[in-house]
Structure formats: structure tokens, C-alpha cells
Symmetry: C2
Subunit: 323 residues, 2 copies
Amino acid sequence: MAVREADVQITIVGSEEQIKPALQKEGISHLVGFVPTSQVVTMHDSPIEAVRKKKDSSVVVAFELLKKGEVDAVVSPGNSGAVMAAAVKFLGRLKDVSRPGIASVFPTLKGPVVVMDVGANVDCRPKHLLQFGVMASAFSRVMYGIERPRVGLLSIGEEGGKGNALVKSAHALFQNSGLNFIGNVEGRDTFVGDVDVIICDGFVGNVCLKLSEGLAEAILSMLREEIGKTFKARLGYLLARQAFGNFKKRVDYAEYGGAPLLGFNGTGVICHGRSNMVAIKNALLVADGLARHNVNGHILELLEKTGPALAQFDENQVPAGAA
Amino acid sequence: MAVREADVQITIVGSEEQIKPALQKEGISHLVGFVPTSQVVTMHDSPIEAVRKKKDSSVVVAFELLKKGEVDAVVSPGNSGAVMAAAVKFLGRLKDVSRPGIASVFPTLKGPVVVMDVGANVDCRPKHLLQFGVMASAFSRVMYGIERPRVGLLSIGEEGGKGNALVKSAHALFQNSGLNFIGNVEGRDTFVGDVDVIICDGFVGNVCLKLSEGLAEAILSMLREEIGKTFKARLGYLLARQAFGNFKKRVDYAEYGGAPLLGFNGTGVICHGRSNMVAIKNALLVADGLARHNVNGHILELLEKTGPALAQFDENQVPAGAA
């Protein structure tokens, strides 16, 4: 699907035994390259140890290919900690980026919103949040063509004085950053679509991501349960089935192409372990877009603009408790 | 509705001009007491100043009545910061409670789950989270009759080693607390219903609360939009309308009776500013239940059990960054 939709070359890295027959069965062996590996990083492996010891696993081999310049980006639905660890080891941080992170795209009533960080950095300082703002803005510009994405800081009140110590301190930093900062946004603003980028620490972002997935599933499952109770409602559902299908497509994670790693010397995209065909295809297209349109160049350019604000900010005292 | 459903006496505190005619129109003046006030705390008032200066506002007068023992609980859909401030001023903290907080009840696929704190305490230490666990457990026991509520710590991975510095440190404390601690829970577990109490700091809790409300609204609004697009789907909706109604009732905040203040010498319940009739009625019944079944007695009893764990814990070093 990806090869047919875009001008993209794909190399699959993984178990020959498991993957080759599937490619042959689909008659697409000739469309993709293949690099066989013999080891597997499981979900229970310690990420750092796995990357060190399982040298012939797909995640390690794929990032080695990226480092050698044989591929332009890596997409992985595997152990996301191991993917991060491999990126740290083989790519390293982009110049001046303190903490690379993971972004995620949420659907809203209008367009998509980019949320960062969603799990890589659980305890942050204000400057980390600012750099997430830079990286997510560059992503939004490259992927959605938004010249100056509106950036909001996730908090619990719209005024700058509202939030925890970290957010209150970061608010001042964002105001002078050169980003298109629109102030604090609240949880309820996330799905309205009036902001292009939402910034939070990786603990809050990961909780929000999983809470949203869990709630969407719970709502659909309650609705299904209620509809299943009467014949009339089941009939009604059949008539409205197309509408339900369109709705599901709007909120389906598979449509949003995985979670990009941002801030590394190279392009990586993480996908759900339970990714379906469409999710992987979209992740491949996101990876292609990021590499092709040089998201890292945009990040470096935006980072430079925030330099003065950061230098100014470091001279000041960070409010107590904002560590 | 509340008077008819339960053996409860109600005193309304507020603007005579605005409320009396409504009571007369409904023919229920004889069912409720009335205390007129002349001042109004708005949503823009600074909570602490409002409570100090607006001595004849409903929130101040209501908490004075509670302090004097003329009522057993206060329910307010007003400025929630002002309600907290009034509780601090007129009731004071329950013995040995470091930080009173606000709990909220979320619907799940099974029963309700109590989440605490949802906004009163944005920067917390592990012992504050433990006390939220105590207070929310007491609430769950009193309101839902669960003898030993299952308590989960909201984090970003199930293992004790996963989370930010605060949660990792709190995890150790919860394990020896005497609470029915089942370990970390993730965002996606919130709506499944396999945990009775979920603990987090007030920043995370408030973000989760508002994110959930926003997402539920967005989902319903997308669904409505899709259904509105074709005649067939609209017809289907009409047939399934009852199912949609039942579903809405299951997720309607109004059914869950407002957010109790826990940890004060007295009972208070905060409601949404946009509360409808059913929401206020349910909040009155929750307040009645908390006062009648002595939730504060249960809190004190559970607190005593956690004493040894807390004493033990205070002797140890809290990991750096967990402040």
C-alpha cells in the first residue's frame, strides 16, 4: 500500500521464516527489500539491555542501517523503549536538543493536534518543554503544512498563573520563545481543534494518550451494549452503519500514522504493537514525509530562534519546585 | 426531588430575588428552608479574597451555617476555588490530614471509580497521595458499600518502577499502607472498572477529568455529525434513540453527584457550574450520604492504620525529584 501510494522504497527487517512466506503469498516480494534477523526483542526485555545484547534483532539492525545511511527512516511496532534506546545509541541527539521525545497525533473536531511528549521524558524542566514545543511545531509544519502552528501548554486553567510549578515556570519561557504560543490549554480543549500543538511532560502526555484510547473504547463498547439490547436499536444501527464507520475512521489511531521520535539525528516512528495494515502504511508515509521534508532541519532552525529566550531564562531563577 | 427521594432537609442559601419566585412557581417553598444573601462570588473573583471580603455571599454564609452545626453539609455549584477556600477557613483540616482534596467519580464499563485529587493540590509529595488514597477509599466504602476498595496509583506502566519520581516513590509507600493497593494503573484502565479508587496529583487528575469530558463531548459530536449526513443514518438514529439515551445516562456527569471535598472537618460537595436539576439532586444525596454515614470517621480510622507506614517512610530518603 505504501509503495503504491508514494514514491517510497521499503526494506523489511525481521524474521525471514515468518515474513517471507507472507510476502510471497501476497505476491509482493519484488516490491520490498529484505534483511533477515535472528533475534527478537520482546515486550518484557529491558530496553537498554536488549539493544546491547540482541545485536541481530530487527530494531538494532534497522537502526544500524539508518546510521550507515542505507535507509532514511525506521518504522517499528516493537518494544517502544527498545526503539528509543536504539535511537539514543545509534543516532544520538540532534545538536542542542536536551531531550528527544515522542509526539503523538490526536484527532479533533477540526484537524489533527500534535501532543508531545507522550512518554519518553517523565520528569521535565521548563526548557525541555520548550524544546518539545519546537520539535512538535516543526513536525506540524512539515506534516500538515501549518506555517506557524499554534502552541498551547497543557494546564488546569487558562491563565498563566494556573498549573503546577513546572507549567507555571514554562509559561514564562514560552511567552518569549518565538513560537506561536497561545497560552495554556486545558484537557477539554484537546479535542476541539483550536490549537495545533499541545505540550506537556511525558508522564502527563502518556496518561492522556492512554486515557483517551481507553475512554474512546469504553464509549463505543457502552454504545454497542445499549444498541444490542433491543431489536429496534439494532435495526437502527444497521441503517446508520455507514455513519458509524465514518466516525470510527475519524477517531481511528490507524489513520494517524504512529508516533514520531523527534530530536534524534535521524527519523524514527513508533507504532502500536497491535497496529493493523493501515496503521503501518500510514506510519511509513509519516516517516517518508519527515525524512523527505527534512523535519530535523526545521527543528534546528526553530531551535536557533528560541536560543535567546533560553539563554535569558537560564540566567533567572527557576521557581522553587519546578525541577 | 432530593427531599422526595431521601429523608433530607434542605436550606437554600442565595439571592432571595432570584430564587424565591422559582420556588413559589414550582410550589415547593414549604419543602425547603431559605437564608437570603446579598453578595455574589463570581467565577472571576480571587477565591481567597472573595471569601474574606464577600461575607454575605452564599458560599461564606453556607459554610458559616455548617460551622455552627445548623446544617450537616454544603453543596455548591459556584466558584470551586472559593468553596475550597471557605472550607479551609471555616472547617479546617481533619486531624492528621496534610492536604484536603477533591475527588471525582468517573463512569466505567462496570461500576463507578473514584479519582482523587482532581485539582486542589497540583504539586504533591508521596504522603499526600497516600492520604488521597485513604480519603477516596473511605468515600468509596461509604457511598458504594465496598468494604476494601481496590486502590490503584495512576502511572504510565504497571510495574512499580514505572512512572515519574513522585509516583515511583509513592508506590513503595502504598505497598505498606494497609490500603487494598493493587499497584499502578494506566490511563486505559480508568474506564474498565477493575479498580475502585485511582490516585494521582491534582494536576494530572484535573487534566484527566477535563480531557475525559472533552473527549466524550467530541465523540458524541462527531457521531452526531456523521449521522446527520444521510437520511438513512438519521432514520437509524431515530430507531436507536432509546439506546443512545441510555448510553448518555451512563456517561452523564449529572448521574454522579458532584465532586466531594475530602479531608475537612465537615462535608462539602462541589458541582459543575452548568449543573442541571438531576446533577444538583444527586450532589445533595451524596452530601447527605457522606454526612449521615460519617465519612470523616472512616477517614480517621483508615488514616490511623497508615500511620506506621508513613512514620517508617518519613525516616527514609525520598528519591530526588519526588518533591
